[in-house]
Point group: C2
């Protein structure tokens, strides 16, 4: 509490609200371009601050691989700035008339996109998220309140300072971007409880961060990211294609949320598909665990527990289960999945339809890798995260879903009977 | 806890989930029509149960006006059944392709409406909400878990039993509609915490119910109903029209969420507008409270406190404040309002635009009564409530917003580079 009192979150949120009101009529793209320039010009001070964070991590004995996740470089800063310029180049998501009609008594109704107002972002590690989140919120007309991880605090401080200075330079309010500038964890709880002061919280990070936010938030939240994804190889699958897709979805980038974690195989293709596929996976360094039926055929596979079916490995590790039908595949997925990305490999039209209908997830693929669930791949041009909840945004969430709407109703003195 | 153990909420939610999976492919309209018939045919048993609830209320010494809110009659039951038939007649909100496109690598993407799955409804008093909520959820393909108020428990039990029997009669799962059949308040907390088992909670009722739900829910919530609405009479207003609109918005039905609670008046029209308007309001039985400037002119008006500006009276009571400009009006509204319905009365195009742009609310009227914020008036054909939050639904919420979506992606073996 002693530390918390040094940083007045309540006052900061009030300034965010004031800034957000000014954003609607301001040139937000000019702000974004100024931010991009300032980051490139400020690369020296950014790297200096980043070195403090890296050094502190090394002192704590963090492995070099993890330290590396925090590291910035001139090239990385230029990439970050380029992403901001690309956000500036996107169409304005505000003031779009989504629908409009006139009712019997002559009232004219328009449904128009407007900003959320103040968006809180709670995220981990990588300092590039600081810039990305601030830029996306600004483009969407909202002020951002950023709470990064304490081990990137020095980097984040400098990034936010540069962005704020850039905004002021083109006549936008500095408080359109604010950092919760204290490592005090109580401030996260305060931010999550700030009903009426924060309009939306978007957490970005691992399962425990997301869980903490969802369990404690009183402010509306968009849950992102946790992906326990499956690929089901149907009886009618093109088996070469199936093997290529499973390998791609597991190996191409195992640490991301749309990588596959469990392979479900129809019993009829076990003999023709599984030996080759498991050999290829093992050859690519994938550690395999499996159900009893899998182990009866491949005793070298480690026995899977119920907890394994529910886990997001984010690693070169794959669970394998033999199932009897499309129905048992969808049942397994609906029971253990995280409603992120699911795929069926099949040549059978009915199996494909049944799978896409019965599986309850954000993105359901037929004959393609789960790795394609991505705002950029989908053509959204930007992505704040992949929503695994059903309210508002579901699946890859671009700028269009970082806004809300209001109804504007024009009359000529109408009263209600 | 002793009572809670008699009712196994967890098992009930499991049955709701199973029922919800079956709803997608079933004839939900047939279910709705059967429900409507069953309610009319069962009017006798409904009224008998309702009499138990009414008698229990009278025993508790509840005023007859409040007892009356719980009361059903043959005519009221026929109205309730008719509303269910109207819901059946609406277009199906499911399986609508909201968007669709093909990306560079040949993947074909469709964004399709799908049910939430299990929707929890927590509401107060009137037993008609039991039928209305169940019918809207069913039309939207979701199973409903209904938690009404304990003082309507006998009525709700019979209503739910009749609806369940009707569903079974046409081959739909009874558990598509379930009542949390226990007065134990701990079950509300359990329902609000049931992440993964309940997809959405919609509270309907007064401010304290809504607050309790929002403060305690770990499941996504759509906040409905609390309306602290304002009418601002601009310097350029047509004053006759302004008086008619203010009277309509305050007097026509003062106990509803879209009734006006505060009148803001531009200082330039105080002399020409306020005496007549206040006389008319007082003549209609409206109790007036006001700011210092109002009281300086009308000493009979009671002094308003800060708490008054924030209160939803739901009564023949109106707060009055004199302001200097459109900007001070919007500032007052954004500070004290509940983001429900706001109106400006003006002949000035610029004032109208400024007000509609700057006010942060679900529905913003120019020259019309706030009373028009209503799903039926808007033409939605049904209304589950009026959302005062910014996530997913905002303003009147019809069937179209009682669904979520998923992405269906069809490929031919694509893998990611």
């Amino acid at each position: 509490m002693a530390i918390a009192t040094l940083y007045d979150l309540d006052a900061a949120l009030g300034r965010s609200r004031t800034a957000s009101r000014a954003l609607v009529q301001s040139d937000r793209d000019a702000g974004l371009l100024a931010m991009a320039d300032a980051l490139v010009a400020g690369a020296g001070v950014i790297l200096e601050a980043n070195e403090w964070d890296l050094e502190a991590e090394r002192q704590r004995g963090t492995s070099e691989a993890l330290v590396d996740r925090l590291a910035l470089s001139v090239g990385r800063i230029e990439e970050i700035a380029e992403a901001v310029r690309q956000i500036a180049a996107r169409p304005d998501p505000l003031n779009r008339v989504l629908d409009g009609w006139r009712i019997e008594n002559g009232l004219s109704i328009r449904k128009v996109t407007v900003p959320f107002g103040v968006i809180g972002m709670i995220y981990e590690s990588r300092p590039n998220v600081t810039v990305d989140a601030a830029a996306l919120a600004l483009k969407a007309g909202s002020a951002s309140v950023l709470r990064g991880s304490s081990n990137a605090l020095e980097s984040n401080r400098v990034l936010v300072r540069l962005m704020r200075e850039a905004l002021v330079g083109v006549g936008l309010p500095a408080d359109a971007v604010q950092l919760v500038d204290s490592p005090d964890r109580a401030l996260v709880t305060d931010l999550l409880s700030a009903r009426g002061k924060v309009d939306l919280i978007i957490p970005r990070g691992g399962a425990s961060l997301i869980d903490h936010v969802v369990e404690n938030a009183k402010v509306p939240v968009i849950e992102t990211g946790v992906g326990n994804c499956h690929i089901y190889v149907d009886a009618s699958a093109d088996l070469d294609s199936a093997e290529a897709i499973v390998l791609n979805a597991k190996v191409q980038r195992p640490g991301v949320c749309n990588a596959v974690e469990t392979l479900l195989v129809h019993q009829d293709v076990v003999a023709s598909f599984l030996p080759g596929a498991l050999r290829a996976l093992a050859g690519a360094g994938v550690k395999l665990i499996g159900c009893e039926r899998t182990r009866a055929i491949f005793p070298e596979v480690v026995q899977a527990t119920k907890a394994d079916w529910a886990e997001e490995y984010l690693d070169l590790k794959l669970a394998v289960r033999i199932v009897d039908s499309v129905a048992s595949a969808t049942e397994h997925i609906n029971r253990y999945g995280s409603m992120h990305s699911e795929a069926i490999i099949t040549e059978d039209r009915r199996s494909a339809m049944l799978f896409q209908e019965q599986v309850d997830a954000a993105a359901i693929f037929v004959n393609a890798s789960t790795r394609f669930t991505d705002g950029f791949v989908f053509g959204f041009g930007a992505e704040i995260g992949i929503s695994t909840q059903k309210l508002h945004a579901r699946g890859p969430m671009g700028l269009e879903e970082m806004v809300t709407h209001k109804y504007l109703i024009d009359g000529e003195g109408q009263t209600r009977n």
